[in-house]
């Protein structure tokens, strides 16, 4: 079997040369372009950071969250690995003097005392019943699955071309008795 291209140069060598040329071109090009550094990170870790950050941009009624040092509780439904990741990311941090506590739960009833409930993708079919169970508990619901915001989850994280973005269902947040900071709303896509 012959591997020579039309120009007679062995195909392999031609392709390797081309590859090297592209490499050279990009290598020379890149430093000349002034750009902010854009590091790559693990998507789940970034989402965990978003979840912790949301605590700073949400206002709970005083009956739900007392003054510092009352704890802020994050409950994760349906993904114990993610709960562990949030715990790691929140370690040593607090929000205006409120320490952060994270727990993993199997059912929404275990999350009624939480301030933020993260609903994992594995619970997609239970979203309506979870939201019903949490109604009246003054809880900020957060998810990372397509369609959650439309279904009534207050904040949903979605990914668009390698960047994690925020979409907000402000009606859902309002119904839960919560106030979302204007700084958060400014950065989010508002679905409702």
């Amino acid at each position: 079997m012959h591997l020579h291209g039309p120009s007679g140069i062995p195909l392999v060598r031609r392709r390797a040369c081309w590859l090297a040329f592209i490499g050279l071109a990009v290598g020379l090009l890149a430093p000349h372009v002034s750009a902010a550094e854009a590091p790559h990170e693990d998507g789940r870790r970034v989402k965990a950071l978003f979840v912790v950050n949301f605590l700073s941009f949400t206002g709970w009624p005083p009956s739900k969250l007392g003054p510092a040092p009352a704890r802020l509780v994050i409950a994760v439904v349906g993904d114990p690995d993610f709960a562990a990741l949030i715990t790691a990311v929140a370690a040593g941090r607090d929000v205006a003097g409120h320490p952060i506590v994270v727990k993993a739960v199997q059912a929404p009833e275990g999350a009624l005392d939480a301030h933020l409930v993260f609903i994992a993708g594995s619970q997609a079919r239970n979203v309506p019943s979870i939201l019903r169970a949490l109604a009246g508990a003054e809880v900020l619901t957060v998810g990372d699955t397509d369609g959650f915001a439309q279904e009534g989850v207050a904040i949903n994280l979605y990914t668009f071309d390698s960047r994690v973005r925020i979409e907000v269902n402000s009606t859902a947040a309002a119904r839960a008795g919560l106030r979302l900071s204007a700084n958060l709303m400014r950065l989010a896509r508002v679905v409702e």
Binding site: A16, G43, Q150
Partner: protein
Amino acid sequence: MKRFQQALWSGTQALTLWLALAPCALGAQEQDPAPGKLVDKSLEALLDVQVDSVEGAARHSQRTTEAPASVSVITANDIETFGWRTLADVLKSVRGFHVTYDRNYSYVGVRAFGRPTDYNNRVLVLVDGQRVNDSIYDGALLGTEGPVDLSVVDRIEVIRGPGSALYGTSAFLAVVNVITKRGAQVGARQVSIEGASFDTYRVQASHGWSDNRGRDVMFSATKYDSRGQASLFFPEFADTNGGLALNLDGDKTTKLLGSATLGRWRFQSVFSEREKRVPTASWGTTFGDSRYFTGDTRAWASAAYTREIKGATVHSRAYVDHYKYYGDYPFNPLAIDGSLADAVGGEVSVRHRIGRHALTVGVEQRTNIRQNQWYGDDATHLSIDDQRHSSELASYVQDEVALTPRLTAILGGRFDWWSLKGGTGRPRLGMVYRTEKDTAIKALYGEAYRAPNMYELYYGSEQIEKGGDTLNPEVVRTLELVVERHLGRRLRVSASGYDTRITGLIDPELVDGGGLRYVNNESARSTGIELEGETRWPSGLMVRSSLAVQRARSATVDRLSNAPGQLGTLQAALPFWRRQLILATDTTYTSWRNAAGGERLPAYWLSNITATYRPLKWPIVVGATVYNAFDATYSHPVGLEFTQIAVQQDGRTAALRLSVNF
């Protein structure tokens, strides 16, 4: 051997040059921040961070779709909502894809390329990173012959084009990446039963378990048995038994899957066997003979280890792999046909971020211990008894460079080498540009190479001439542009255009005496435009629709066979009654196509309607689907080994399923 050494040296030169340059591209850049620094970033800064693994909960994600290609993702929810039973059903509803069925195997056509009886050798199908395509036909099993039951599937990523250097052999037109569920997603115990038209029964049981310490186990077993159509009419055989094939459409399959995650280790084992009666008297066999069977067995066991070392992700995998095919062909006398392939292999890949680069480097090796094909009257009188073994080696490198905050370049190259066929290196290049409002523009150029498979090369019977040394590999070159955008709050749209050229397309042709021969059939070209839109409403209504306008031709044939000019899809799902009931439809339009001899097959609409009931109080799911709800009459074109030019498909059928979690 010498050619391999030359090629390896060239590849190493290129790789060394590239790796030497990559750090230089940093210039006076800051060092990659330690992971701790990310914690201090504000919300705005977090929005700017580029992430790697994007989809869902899969911690040990396989090669994710970093290629700037057009990707469609189908979720487990979609599979249940639209009543899809096999991978063929799923692909039928993917933009730009069409599926044909010859009452034995299902074949997928991508961008108007669907060559007759090609066993899907131009589409790479992976299950959790394991190559499903076998080592004889390079074929992908898509229908009931597929290796996994859809109920264990978490999602399916369809990646169009040869866009990523991470995928090799058979990643010619598309890559279909099937990712299975974890124990945590399956729930403790689940049993489901299904009954459908033509005496079809399916029983499936699965068990999942997980804990907080990174351990996760999942088992699933499925048994499927269908009597098939009791009576099928083929006018081409009207002089035999009135053209009626009676009770010759039976289909049975057993599938087993087990996977376990233990910390950094992941193990998986899959077994699937399927036997089908064939009613079509293909290959010139006796019509109406109840001895016509084909069977396919596919199995593998794999172990994978993933670890982060100083910011680099190292992924390694080893596997053993088995494929067996047998066929009983009722000529006078009965002939037996078969093939057997056993392999062991492994792969290692390293993914590392250096400043603005995300570099992936990998090596794959496969030893085909056995690649046997046989044909004859019985085990002692074989007219074909071909036994071979071979090995394969591949190496690839892919770099994603953030040239500016908005512009990313993806550059890759892959080198594949086969001990029996030689090797070559191919580049993949792409650019992604993001505008301010949720819009991405992607430009891609990719090349891929398909060496003829063992069947095309070495199988020679009275019916098929051996390809042998006269067959050359096919080369595909694709240029593609994709634009994706969110419009307003609820609508997501995408548009793409492509120009795909294949040189040396390997196609069967008829020879004098009624046999077949595989030849490099000149060049072929496919061009097209695809549009897709998806919208979701607060009520839960979801509508997704697509249109593909495409054309596939060669230098001498203005329109290739099995190349529909337009394909349309429409999927809509609407929940009722506090989302306990979902009504959904999956409708497709296929425009007219030519059969192998140029005869025209008419266009058709196909509509499935599914209702799914999930009561709040009980952990059950009840589903009912009517397939081909409007009883459309339509046919699919078949290969040259058939007397018929096309095979008519089923009319309206129904299925009812119940699954219980406990």
